[in-house]
Amino acid sequence: MHETTTYEPVLTGERREKLEQLLQRYETRRAGVLPALWMVQHARGWISDDAMAEVAEVLDLTPAYVKGVVTFYTMYHQHPVGEHFIQVCTTTCCNLVGAEVVVEALLEQTGCKELGATSPDGKYTVVEVECLGACGFPTPVMVNDDFIESVTPESVSELLERYK
């Protein structure tokens, strides 16, 4: 028999209360879109079409509208990613001092076949990002919410030790 998974809402109970409280800060419910999407991603690790529809319902918007917002902002994941989502800055300032070599080292040592792909063991996804605002401490790398400065190709293995 073919089983379908039913979507379990995220914005319920305490989370919903917190969101409603947050909405007091703004003049419209629409302004709660970015905070609501962050809540969903924090709970589920990514934002599915069903989740977008849920956010829409809670904030009196349409699913298509919410999808338009999700697709604009690069930090929202539209599909599942590895347990440790790794972002490496390769914009000009970091590029000048070896950021691309850091990327290569990360791809090799995580087992990710290419940028954006999740490693076979599901632990890592590595992507390049644009300027992370730590240009004086090249190369900055984010692993989920952790912001790590001054990563070099030599220090990549030590970094990955902390995220097994």
Partner: protein
């Protein structure tokens, strides 16, 4: 610069004085260092008087545009007919710039104080601190400082017992350079795609939620309490060259330089001294180029660096702009064609895609540069790049398009020999065939 290195004797520490001091982040630590006296003083002043003082000081927007802050505040309606808003632009995403992050990490109460004074001056009861989504540590530090400020009645219904409501909330971004553009920032707060708005109407007339709004950069606001404490005359006195550029600037130096970091100097400081003296020169020994204002300004050649003074007028005179003060340094090992391509790739990625010239122009520019780097370029491509740049300048809703154009046009003009080397086959292709 205070953190993580010892300040250089030629620095003037105002904003960065407490960088590196962990307890300066706390309410008590900030008060111990003279904090919140300025807010107390300002709350007892007429809002118009606060605006006048900041106008007199000559403080100009430190996010990149350099617009006089007091003048911007003066655009807000004097008579409050509904809510007014202050938006703190903490979206710092201009390549080469990393000063606002340090201000928030080390002196969060300094930002809160400056923003609260400003909110009082423009009669805004609610302020949003729009922090880019990637700045997880500044968000945590700022939230903790806000919680403290509320607990100590600095913020809230009755700010410092003044009878005035000052509320301040963090609004987290989600990855979009363009949301640092003030009207895109407002749209993002409203829960929309971060598309810039056409002006007029300007934010002071129609801003967030359609209300009168002022948007200011973190560094601009962090300067405000110092001006209130020590006076506009003191601030005006911090000026080495042009009297229209006053105060100190945090310069974020990065790229191929020996001592990267944030350096705080008086306006008008010589760029060459910053690079060779304060930052210890360049690794290869020979400088090739500097971009002083974050990536969105024209390149300077080594010769042009010699006479460039770091203030708004000085940089324009040198053929570039001070912008955000993100000083990106290239030594003679840098591949100017590749780095120009990489910078343009940044703009192509970040374009909101509203305007045809930007949406198509940034992408097309990147493809031409990639073709040149793959050894498939032709001489007419250089004319095409210059023509494209002109088409991308002065014709769009915001200046992301102009920024990309400025980079490419200055690269082709000033480093033409490097482009020609790829085209004529004198240099091995850097990229695989397109």
């Amino acid at each position: 610069m205070g953190y993580p290195h010892e300040p250089h004797p030629r620095e003037t520490l105002v904003l960065s004085e407490h960088f590196g001091a962990a307890d300066a982040r706390t309410y008590d630590g900030w008060v111990k260092r003279g904090g919140y006296k300025a807010l107390e003083k300002a709350l007892a002043m007429d809002p118009a008087a606060v605006i006048d003082e900041v106008k007199e000081s000559g403080l100009r927007g430190r996010g990149g545009a350099g617009f006089p802050a007091g003048v911007k505040w003066g655009f807000m309606p004097k008579e409050r007919k509904g809510p007014h808003y202050l938006c703190v632009n903490a979206d710092e995403s201009e390549p080469g710039t990393f000063k606002d992050r340090e201000i928030m990490r080390w002196t969060p109460h300094g930002l809160i104080e400056g923003a609260a004074i400003t909110a009082h001056a423009i009669q805004a009861e609610t302020s949003y601190i729009y922090i880019r989504g990637e700045f997880t540590e500044p968000i945590a530090v700022m939230q903790q400082a806000l919680d403290e400020a509320y607990a100590r009645n600095v913020l809230g219904e009755n700010a410092m017992g003044s009878g005035k409501r000052i509320d301040m909330y963090i609004h987290r971004g989600a990855g979009a350079y363009i949301c640092g553009e003030e009207t895109a920032l407002m749209n993002s707060i409203e829960g929309k795609r971060g598309n810039p708005r056409i002006r007029p109407p300007f934010p002071a007339a129609y801003g967030v939620f359609g209300r009168p709004t002022t948007i200011n950069n973190v560094e601009t606001l962090a300067s405000v309490s110092h001006i209130i404490n020590r006076g506009s005359q003191w601030y005006k006195g911090l000026s080495l060259s042009n009297p229209r550029s006053t105060g100190t600037k945090l310069l974020s130096v990065c790229g191929q330089v020996n001592k990267p970091g944030n350096y705080e100097v008086e306006m008008g400081f010589p760029l060459k001294d910053l690079i060779y003296d304060l930052c210890g020169g360049v690794p290869s020994g020979t400088l090739k180029s500097v971009v002083p204002g974050g990536s969105s300004v024209p390149y300077l050649t080594r010769e042009e660096v010699e006479s460039c003074l770091l203030d708004y007028e000085g940089c324009v005179e040198a053929g570039t702009m001070l912008g955000s003060g993100g000083v990106i340094v290239f030594d003679d090992s840098a591949d100017m064609v590749y780095q120009t391509m990489r910078t343009c790739r940044f703009y192509a990625h970040e374009s909101c895609a509203q305007c045809t010239q930007c949406r198509e122009g940034t992408g097309w520019t990147v493809r031409i540069l990639e073709r040149i780097l793959a050894g498939e370029g032709e001489m007419k491509d250089l004319d095409l790049l210059l023509d494209l740049g002109e088409q991308m300048t002065g014709k769009t809703i915001c200046v992301l398009s102009d920024s990309c154009a400025a980079v490419v046009m200055s690269a082709v003009t000033k480093f033409r020999n490097e482009f020609e080397a790829y085209i004529k086959g004198a240099r091995r292709p850097m990229l695989a065939a397109v």
